[in-house]
């Protein structure tokens, strides 16, 4: 063997390794920069009242700032609004998404299923602001007002493609023997799906649902057209309601409340991070 040739190849190998490492670090930099920025600016705002009090009025905030105190109040109205809308959206989107995903996984050759699959991809790529304006026309206009219901309809539409895809993919990688064993015992397809396939796919589907939640929890644009926002804590679903991302936008627009942006952002970021880590952990555990 030619020694020079081998050295040459090793050098190329090394160069590529370095290139990959540097590029990987470069992608990680913005992530850590964002996390660091939000954490440093937001962590001293997090207190018990931040989670239990609604947004202060601009006047109260102004007085507090004049007096040199920290801004009173918090984001409880946003947290509760987000939870209500997310809760309703999950209750609707999860069963529909799972059934649809099961249909797609079971009938890959069916023309209708192929069409639905294609539309699911399309829906996933639809800008959220468009979903917001369409739900505005569909729900807000007929109901003659902004509401938590309209907000959760927008979230359902955004969550569906993610749940459908994760259900479909998880069912497809289950061993065929599982389904055949169920059918060989005389079960019909629906029963085998409900009693054997879906339970076996639970881990993957649950992970998908968590990722879908973390994907939509920070959505702002569709909620502007549908939920609008609300400055006090409210539990009614047919009235305008607040949400954490909406609050961030409101804080940004009110010079007196700008300090609160960082606390709200940090909360949202930590929540999404936790959901993602949980989803990752579950996916790993389920794969073992």
């Amino acid at each position: 063997m030619d020694k020079r040739k081998i050295r040459n190849r090793l050098a190329k190998d090394n160069a590529l390794l370095w290139a990959v490492c540097i590029l990987a670090t470069l992608t990680a930099v913005p992530l850590f920069a964002i996390l660091g920025e939000v954490f440093l600016r937001g962590y001293d705002q997090l207190s018990w009242t931040f989670f239990t009090e609604p947004t202060p009025t601009a006047y109260k905030a102004m007085v507090a700032i004049e007096a040199g105190n920290s801004i009173p109040g918090g984001i409880a109205n946003g947290i509760i609004g987000t939870m209500i809308m997310l809760g309703m959206a999950v209750v609707v989107a999860v069963p529909i998404g799972i059934l649809c995903g099961a249909f797609l996984a079971e009938n890959p050759k069916n023309r209708f299923a192929q069409m639905v699959s294609y539309l699911t991809d399309l829906l996933q790529g639809t800008p959220s602001v468009i979903i917001g304006i369409v739900v505005y026309i569909w729900v807000v206009v007929p109901m003659k007002g902004y509401s938590a219901i309209a907000g959760s309809v927008a979230l359902v539409i955004m969550m569906l493609p993610l749940i459908i895809r994760s259900t479909e993919e998880t069912l497809k990688i289950l061993p065929a023997s599982l389904k055949e064993a169920g059918l060989a015992l005389g079960g019909n397809r629906a029963r085998v799906m409900l009693k054997v396939q879906l339970p076996a796919a639970f881990g993957g589907i649950f992970t998908g649902v968590l990722l879908a939640i973390s994907r939509v929890i920070g959505e702002t644009a569709p909620l502007m057209f549908t939920a609008l926002g609300c400055s006090f804590i409210r539990f009614t679903i047919d009235k305008p309601i607040s949400a954490v991302p909406l609050l961030i936008w409101e804080f940004f627009n009110d010079p007196n409340l700008q300090e609160l942006i960082w606390g709200a952002s940090l909360f949202l970021l930590l929540f999404v991070l936790t959901l993602n880590l949980t989803a990752k952990y579950l996916a790993k555990k389920w794969n073992q």
């Binding site: 023997s177 055949e180 064993a181 059918l183 060989a184 015992l185 005389g186 029963r191 339970p199 076996a200």
Partner: protein
């Protein structure tokens, strides 16, 4: 001499094709007597499993596969029956043990009832589980861990659990598709012993790659080659004095 009792299962010019051009099983005709063990042998790709899977209409799951001819179960043509009815009367054990991973050992045995929407009382459930696990000689090993997952057992135990699961439905015929090929010799011996005992309650049709196994357990054997049923007869006769050259070549290891 003709047997007095009619055969429980009868293939009559059974054909299976995956595509229009190629037939995987060609005009197989054979009658199988009640409470016997029949082994189906042959080299890979000869259509053994394909023939077996035709019996419980597994091919219906795949729209491209066509099954022609007749398969009679107690004189009734399976191919024109509802798959659900057929599969309740014809149990199947697969090559790889496939206990339902989310169910306990107890629930695995009863899964056939759950999947058929049949409700049992607590005592019926307990009786069924005990009877079936005893008939596969698993009861003594697992009766104190019935609530553990089925996948917690060893490979051989899992396969016996799958047999118990099939037996719970009291099938007339039990199809076994190379049930021991994924198991070690000791577990294999257990299953073979078990099959001998089971033939009193059920008629067994087993696909096997292992000639020794066919010789040990079966009373009749089929030899298939390229989709054809080359030879069908008493196992002892076939092994000592095969009538077809191809059977002889396979049994002596010249082909396979």
């Amino acid at each position: 001499m003709e047997s007095v009792t009619p055969p429980i299962l009868e293939f009559n010019k059974t054909c299976v094709s995956y595509t229009k051009q190629t037939m995987a099983v060609k005009y197989v005709s054979a009658a199988i007597d009640k409470n016997t063990i029949t082994a189906i042998m042959g080299p890979s790709g000869c259509g053994k499993s394909t023939l077996l899977r035709a019996v419980n209409l597994m091919h219906n799951l795949y729209p491209n596969i066509r099954v022609d001819g007749e398969i009679l179960l107690n004189g009734e043509n399976i191919l024109s029956m509802e798959p659900i009815d057929v599969r309740r009367r014809v149990g199947m054990v697969f090559q790889r043990p496939a206990p339902f991973p989310t169910m306990s050992i107890y629930d695995n045995v009863l899964s056939g009832y759950v999947l058929n929407g049949i409700r049992l009382s607590k005592t019926e459930k307990d009786e069924t589980v005990e009877r079936c696990l005893k008939s596969v000689a698993l009861w003594d090993e697992v009766n104190d861990v019935l609530n553990k997952k089925g996948t917690f057992l060893s490979g051989g135990q899992q396969q016996r659990l799958c047999i118990a699961r099939a037996l719970a439905m009291k099938p007339d015929v039990l199809l076994m598709d190379e049930p021991t090929s994924a198991l070690d010799p000791i577990a294999t011996a257990h299953i073979e012993e078990l099959m001998q005992e089971l033939q009193n309650e059920v008629t067994i049709l087993i696909v096997t790659h292992n000639m020794g196994q066919a010789m040990r357990i079966s009373s009749k054997s089929m030899f298939m080659y390229l989709g054809e049923l080359v030879e069908y007869g008493d196992t002892a006769t076939m092994f000592s004095n095969p009538s077809d050259e191809r059977t002889k070549a396979y049994l002596t290891g010249k082909m396979g």
